[in-house]
């Protein structure tokens, strides 16, 4: 569904991504691991139109989407969910969710998606009118994911969903990722080595110093010594 070929990207004058090629097939969950600061977020952002200086080829269902802005891409069904969540602090949970459905294609499904999202995250339904700035870390993370779902996305790029969460919440996040995928959404997830999440991966990628250093299935990963180093080192 999403295919990157020899993508280079610069972020704030720094050459972050170097000839990155990867592919996410429709319906898959692909997890990208790697040390911090080596460009994992940039890969997601580049796909979702949030990085200005991108070269190479990014394709979505065969169509070339390299260099398109986030407005177009969200409309096409590609949404980024930031590790900082980037919520709207002075707005309520409900308003944040409504804004998630800003794009034209999502507007028609706003009511339906709102119900779906509340079913998935019942706690958000309870806190509908609460200001986003007053939410706890875990709740804010849920809200960010929920807002992403409101865009009627077919492809979600999720950046470190378990960051800063306690172990029991991590289980919840993993469950939600599985549920979302079960509803037909393709996922590319960037994470630290969180067993609950890497468990779900159809394919694993490792990004080191802006380059793909490993591509394979979980089983391949287990047999790879270099990777073991990274995993243990992290």
């Amino acid at each position: 569904m999403i295919k990157l070929t020899d993508v280079n990207a610069c972020y704030q004058d720094f050459h972050v991504l170097k000839n990155v090629s990867l592919a996410v097939e429709k319906g898959q969950i692909v997890v990208m691991l790697g040390p911090n600061g080596h460009g994992k977020s940039t890969v997601l952002k580049a796909i979702c139109g949030l990085v200005k200086k991108v070269s190479g080829l990014i394709r979505f269902e065969g169509e070339n989407i390299t260099g398109l802005g986030s407005e177009k891409l969200v409309d096409m069904g590609i949404t980024y969910i930031a590790e900082n969540r980037e919520l709207f602090p002075q707005m309520s949970v409900l308003e944040n969710l409504k804004l998630g459905a800003y794009s034209r294609s999502a507007r028609a499904f706003e009511k339906k998606n709102l119900e779906k999202v509340f079913d998935l995250f019942p706690r958000l339904r309870d806190r509908q009118s609460q200001l986003a700035s007053t939410m706890s870390g875990g709740e804010a993370r849920m809200l960010a994911i929920a807002r992403g779902l409101m865009s009627n996305a077919r492809f979600l790029a999720i950046d470190e969903p378990s960051l800063g969460l306690q172990p029991n919440l991590r289980d919840e996040v993993a469950k939600i990722i599985k549920q979302i995928n079960g509803q037909g959404i393709t996922l590319l997830v960037v994470e630290q080595n969180i067993p609950q999440i890497t468990e779900l991966a159809d394919t694993l990628y490792v990004l080191e110093e802006g380059r793909i250093s490993f591509e394979g299935s979980k089983e391949d990963a287990l047999g790879n010594d270099h990777l073991k180093e990274i995993f243990l080192g992290m």
Binding site: D75, I81, A82, E86, L87, F88, K98, L99, G100, Y102
Partner: protein
Amino acid sequence: MVIEIADVIISGLINGSVYALMAVGLTLIYGVSKAFNFAYGSFYSLGGYIAFLLFGLSFINNYFLVFLLAAPILLVFGFFVEKVLVAPLRKRDDWEIKVMMITLGLALFLDNSFQVIFGSRMKSLPPFLEGGFEGGNFYLSHQDVGIFFLSIGGILLFRWFLNNTRTGMSVRAVAQNPAGAQIVGIPKEFVFAATFAISTVMVGMGGILLAQKYFITPMGGWDILVKAWVITAFGGMGSIRGGLYAAFIVGMLEAFVGWYFGMTWTLIVLFAVLLTTLAVRPQGLLGKWG
């Protein structure tokens, strides 16, 4: 004595309401796009002159029509200015200085164009309401009451827009978190242009409302710019609620100082209050998007 004080309070309220309309416009642009529009005062005069021209047309004979026609003209003008003059500068270094410079150039161009086209003598608009409420020595013109309610109405309309329309919500979103707005797919450039356009309408309307009281002059906008600026900074740049409180406080303060000490002291007192506030709270009264 009581009547005099009542007069002062009412004057303060009325001016405050129009100031509120204009300060909100300025704080809006700053809060959303961090740009400073030096031509804001000229837009105020522009509103007055547009109304003046419209009244010159034979089929225009009431304010309702004038507002109806002036608003879209101002809206389109503001949108156009942002797209052509401000947006291209955003990519450059020191873009805030450059925006100030280009809007200053625009102000120069507009003010002097007004002078050449309309002459430097004051222009006035016909009053929209005649008569007033009387009671002994007390007189409150219908005009002033009308101005007050129209300004308040404008602000309420704006608040409704912000909370209940998609564009309004996108404006708040960009102001609160530009990164988040981008993630959600809100077209930032459009929002920047839209807020600029809206603020142009607000200050232009202010110009039309106050034109009957204070007349229209080519250079009259600078006082307005400074006042709007002081109010915005006082209330906290980017805070709409702060701007509203500040506008009324300033309106009242101005009325009282002008009455008690004389008009020449108003500016000094205003700045003194502003400076002391900023010394204690560098971000203004409610400095944050609110």
